[in-house]
């Protein structure tokens, strides 16, 4: 299978999965979306193995790393600003406080996960890197 065919099939699977997922959530069914998500992941994993072309190379990984870092930084800053705004407004509406707390913990978790993964890769990546 070539990359173009794989991309078309992937797009179709994503579209069908998103449709089923949203419809099931509207109908308050949580079992089918999980099954569909798992099944589509397995199909995509299987199809990925069948592709003979190169799906991603070192340039993609480099861009991916930079994009991920930037996305984390932007998310963190936006999250912190929104959190402070919600805290300030929590006097007017008490519902804002738990949202602000959740946001704060989410940002902390995001930063912590990033730090742990970064530490792991900086320590072990040279040893575990796949030989091409």
């Amino acid at each position: 299978m070539n990359l173009k065919k794989y991309d078309k099939i992937r797009l179709g699977i994503v579209f069908i999965t998103a449709f089923i997922f949203s419809q099931c959530l509207v109908l308050h069914n949580f079992f089918i979306p999980i099954m569909v998500l798992g099944l589509s992941s397995l199909i995509l994993f299987y199809l990925r193995k069948k592709v003979v072309d190169v799906i991603a190379d070192e340039r993609d990984y480099q861009i991916g790393g930079k994009s991920a870092l930037l996305a984390i930084q932007i998310t963190s800053w936006v999250g912190v600003i929104v959190m402070f705004v919600l805290y300030v407004l929590s006097d007017k509406n008490s519902f804002y406080e738990p949202i602000a707390m959740t946001l704060a913990f989410f940002i902390c978790l995001l930063m912590l996960t990033y730090s742990v993964i970064f530490k792991y890769y900086s320590k072990y990546s040279s040893r575990n890197e796949k030989q091409h």
Partner: protein, 65 residues
């Protein structure tokens, strides 16, 4: 950092797609390499040089040379 990838590729009469397959990367990466918009890893530089039957020092021209 400049390079002679395009010159050597045309000299050998191979397409960007073929060179990409030989080096194990996507065609876009070869395009960026030829335009000197991407600095490859030592492994990729070696693979490209090998595919074009040359060496890294002959393929890439460093700014301080």
């Amino acid at each position: 950092m400049k390079n002679n990838i395009k010159d050597l590729r045309t000299k050998f009469g191979i397409t960007q797609e073929e060179l990409a397959q030989k080096a194990g990367v996507r065609r876009e990466t070869i395009i960026f390499l030829e335009q000197s918009k991407y600095n490859p890893s030592l492994k990729l530089a070696h693979d490209v040089a090998l595919s074009l039957k040359t060496t890294i020092d002959k393929l890439f021209v460093f700014n301080d040379e």
